[in-house]
């Protein structure tokens, strides 16, 4: 259902590669000014200290991540961020038999800790809001397709049919007070992969903020969250990848304090007998969603929401996705690419999105 679904244990170890304070390395080509300031070297004056930069590369949740922060405590902040990513990876990985989620899937019941309780609550909210399009219970079907192991296969229709009764998060009993979960059907399994990276980027932003960081960029395998503006006060420029060509962008969004999360069938897929099967599975059918969209980008200050809705709206297809946005326009904006390649953008970000292609603006009053 989501690209982060596959968290092999091999990736559970988080490797913190880089902890470098870049003095003089021009990482921000848009900004000659910040470049110059970084060039002041090790002896950072008080005025310049806010521009101190630290970056770490992390391999976790089956992907490659970078956290970049600017500020006096930038190094300590990104170190803490990396530790948090590692902690959440260990907690949420379905592939690691010891993780809380894997344990729950094995036993069918359990009491959640703080993070998983929040994720469960948000998942249930999203399930209700999207009419079941966001469904953490889709995991057994993902296993059937091999998306969890990358050992892909096309299941028999009958196999999927038999699993569909399990694919229903409403059959999860959740007592919020006690954080107690019970699966009411044997064989049910869940995965927070559809919101885990969005939640993680939100957590990382919180931690960076605790360290007084006001400017940062978090990129968890293409799930982007920016904090504040760039150090020169200009907005971040966030490109959105084309679903058709990995080297192209459909456009660039300028913004501050935003999560920008894109889901599309191009992220993980396999081919068999000339047909492409991607990883965003429609919980109603058990098959990859083919409902008219090639990619969906959600823009919201709330990373968890953005992550969850990117797959949900993809499954809904264009008409229902637009209707959904009209109902929730205060909470998020979206960029949709339909099967014909037409790009549409919701009103709220129409002015901050630039593209070389023709873009249709979706208005609240249709």
């Amino acid at each position: 259902m989501h690209r982060s679904r596959l968290w092999i244990v091999g990736f559970v170890l988080v490797f913190l590669l880089s902890g470098c304070k870049t003095n003089g390395a021009a990482e921000s080509p848009n900004s000659d000014r910040s470049q110059k300031e970084e060039n002041t070297g090790n002896h950072v004056s008080e005025e310049d200290s806010a521009k101190e930069k630290a970056e770490r590369e992390i391999f976790a949740m089956d992907t490659y991540m970078t956290v970049t922060a600017f500020g006096t405590d930038a190094q300590a902040a990104v170190d803490a961020a990396a530790a948090e990513i590692e902690r959440l990876d260990l907690l949420l990985s379905t592939g690691n038999g010891e993780s809380e989620v894997a344990t729950l899937n094995r036993t069918g019941a359990g009491t959640l800790t703080k993070d998983t309780a929040v994720l469960m609550e948000r998942s249930m909210e999203l399930y209700d809001a999207t009419g079941g399009m966001f469904d953490i219970a889709v995991y057994p079907v993902m296993e059937e397709w091999g998306f969890t192991t990358e050992e892909y296969r096309v299941p028999e229709a009958e196999e999927l049919e038999n699993l569909l009764p399990l694919i229903d998060a409403s059959k999860i009993q959740y007592d919020e007070e006690k954080a107690r979960v019970t699966f009411t059907q044997p064989g049910m399994k869940i995965d927070f992969g559809g919101i885990a990276k969005g939640y993680t980027s939100g957590r990382v932003a919180d931690i960076l903020r605790e360290y007084g960081i006001q400017s940062a960029m978090i990129n968890l395998g293409g799930n982007v969250q920016v904090m504040g503006t760039k150090t020169d006060g200009s907005k971040w420029r966030i490109a959105i990848q084309s679903p058709d060509n990995e080297e192209e962008y459909i456009g660039v969004l300028e913004g501050a304090d935003l999560a920008v999360i894109t889901s599309g069938g191009y992220e993980r897929y396999f081919e068999q007998d000339g047909k492409t099967y991607h990883h965003i599975v429609d919980p109603r059918t058990g098959y990859p969603a083919e409902n008219g969209l090639k990619s969906v980008t959600i823009v919201s200050p709330d990373g968890t929401l953005a992550d969850g809705l990117s797959t949900s709206l993809f499954i809904m297809g264009p008409e229902k996705a637009i209707a959904f946005w009209r109902k929730h326009a205060e909470e998020f904006d979206a960029v949709l690419v339909d099967d014909e390649g037409h790009i549409s953008v919701t009103e709220g970000i129409a002015d901050s999105f630039t593209s070389d292609f023709e873009v249709q603006v979706i208005r609240k009053e249709g």
């Binding site: 091999g10 590669l17 902890g19 970056e55 089956d62 057994p140 296993e143 966030i238 920008v260």
Partner: protein
Amino acid sequence: MEFLRKISAFAPTLAAVLVTACIGASLSGYETPVYEVQASEPEREERIEEQNTEPEGSFDLENGIYKGTGNGFAGKITVAVEIKDKKIVSIEVLSVEGDDAAFFNRAKSVIDKMIAAQSLEVDVVSGATYSSKGIISAVKNALTGETDDRAMPGAGATAASGGASVGTEDGEDKPSGGENEDPSGSRYQNGEYTASVLCLPDEDEDFEPYHLTLKIKVEREKITEISDIAGDGGPSNDSYIRRAANGTPKIQGVVSQILEAGKPENIDTVSRATCSSTAIIAACQEALKSAEK
């Protein structure tokens, strides 16, 4: 920045070619000569111990080239990762068991993005995924000295053993990446293109890895000119580069071979300059990639 972008243009396909000729037994002992190297590289084992005792500590690596292997789709995949200033500046796919073109294409895109996650115009790209089994773990392993082991406790074990009980043995299929072939038959845009590749010594040669840069001219689907061939490893390499490019009275140089063929395919290397030869061929292939429509 300019420099990094050039390196990032590495294609693993070429790297594989380059590597066949150039990779020595142990890459991890080399230092990158291009930059200031602070100290000789400490034993990898020591670093792993540090990592174990201090898991959330900063994982610092000396400048150098690290080799690692991970489990890809069809078999093992081996990469060389070049570290400079604690950052990855290049990743090359050295070998892939049961390799197929689709996998290389997929790998290339993952690698390109890992190195040059941002272009000049934007700060970051939403939706650019870096998930590729094998590549990510091979890189990780290169930097930690670990190995993948499919039998490792917990590695996918819950997914395989739990719940749904349908055998997956016979239905397996290998994924393939998207390929964009131009149906018109014309692949390359006329023009001049520059590329830079890493030249690594093989077992018989003793020099420090360096980057080789050159420019090609493409006209009507063919390479018609190769110029500005230069290494950044100091003058000691120049005689080898010249030998590779121009050949000797008895051996044809790779440049004239490529120009005769019009393309950098099935080119013989020049003996006692095999690494430079391979690097020139790889750089031409890389430059040709930029010419693709």
